[in-house]
Subunit: 210 residues, 2 copies
């Protein structure tokens, strides 16, 4: 996994590593945690296995995290940030908002294919750390609503309730990611062709469909 | 909760109650299980608490279920069936498919408001009983895809990949239900007005929006 460059570090400010070596250790721990929690779930995951997967000493773990709960919470934030950092540039590069949402859907589906463990981890946070679960979705919806609102003001999409639209769009993408990213192996482009058409045009027949 | 009338019983055929009294006991156990698992989660829930909430003897539990896992699995199927039985008549009563989807969105949101525990239970099934979790969503998507396909053939909606549309629509409704049914108390009609407009028309501007 690439190092997360844009999002803030998922640890408390006092624990943000100050050296390049520290940043590499923190990244190795978070990547190892994604593997460990993704394979075993929270309950069966072990700090000793996380440090073994990361190839770091146990003491290094406690420089950054107090507990298994603490690294799990940091991991949820880190995965949130990774999704955002992967998808946002693809959205930003699109010529208009409908193209941007299509690019975002495709990028998200590609991300999920490469990080199938993200569903198990985010979904388990509902039980392990409900605040982190809620924060993950609420922050994502807030970002989506802001870009839809701005696009409506620019006249690129119709006017509407941006918050309702954001939760609807996020739900679409999450479930398409589950079905076609985690469970299935259909070509992402075909899935996104249909999903983006639904998002831009809806189900109603066009007038030229006789 | 009303007795589920249309969906098959969520227990094995050999355990389906043959008397009215048996049906009432099974219903009481499932309703009690929804409360117990919804409040405490699977790990902390106890069979003794389920039978106490249901007001039945422990022996009655074992007539229908072998274990806590067994009643949890039955509960996931029962909740799936309850959603379907609540929403389906509202969908069937609508004059066309776009009206039907709108009626279905509103009915689902109303159901969730009355049964907020359903999210915690279905979501936890991903960890307690992954097959039941997958069955719940796959069956729901299959039903949605079938009705969208039939509507496209009748010319009530545009043609398109019904499976992709079904997972997108289901995801929309699940996340709108989480945000506005479980977490929020906005008027369901306002949420559905926007969500159904998104589903029928999409985000694109109409030509008369100058």
């Amino acid at each position: 996994m690439p190092e997360t460059k844009n999002s803030p570090a998922p640890v408390a400010p006092s624990k943000v590593p100050k050296t390049e070596r520290g940043r590499r250790t923190l990244r190795a721990l978070l990547n190892a945690a994604a593997e460990e929690f993704g394979e075993k779930g929270f309950h069966d995951a072990a700090i000793s296995q996380i440090t073994a997967r990361a190839g770091v000493a146990t003491g290094s773990f406690y420089v950054y995290f107090d507990s298994k709960e603490a690294i799990f919470q940091a991991l949820v934030r880190d995965l949130s940030g990774q999704v955002k950092d992967f998808v946002a540039p693809r959205i930003a590069a699109a010529p208009d908002q409908l193209a941007a949402e299509r690019a975002g859907q495709l990028a998200y589906l590609e991300f999920v294919r490469q990080h199938k463990e993200i569903y198990r981890i985010i979904d388990e946070s509902e039980f392990v750390d409900p605040a982190a679960y809620r924060e993950h979705y609420t922050q994502s919806a807030t970002r989506i609503a802001a870009r839809l609102q701005a696009a409506a003001e620019r006249g690129e999409i119709s006017d509407g309730n941006a918050e309702v639209r954001a939760w609807a769009l996020m739900g679409m993408n999450v479930f398409l990611g589950l079905r076609f990213g985690v469970w299935g192996d259909e070509a992402p482009e075909d899935v996104v062709a249909e999903a983006s058409r639904l998002l831009s045009e809806g189900l109603a027949r066009r007038e030229n469909e006789a």
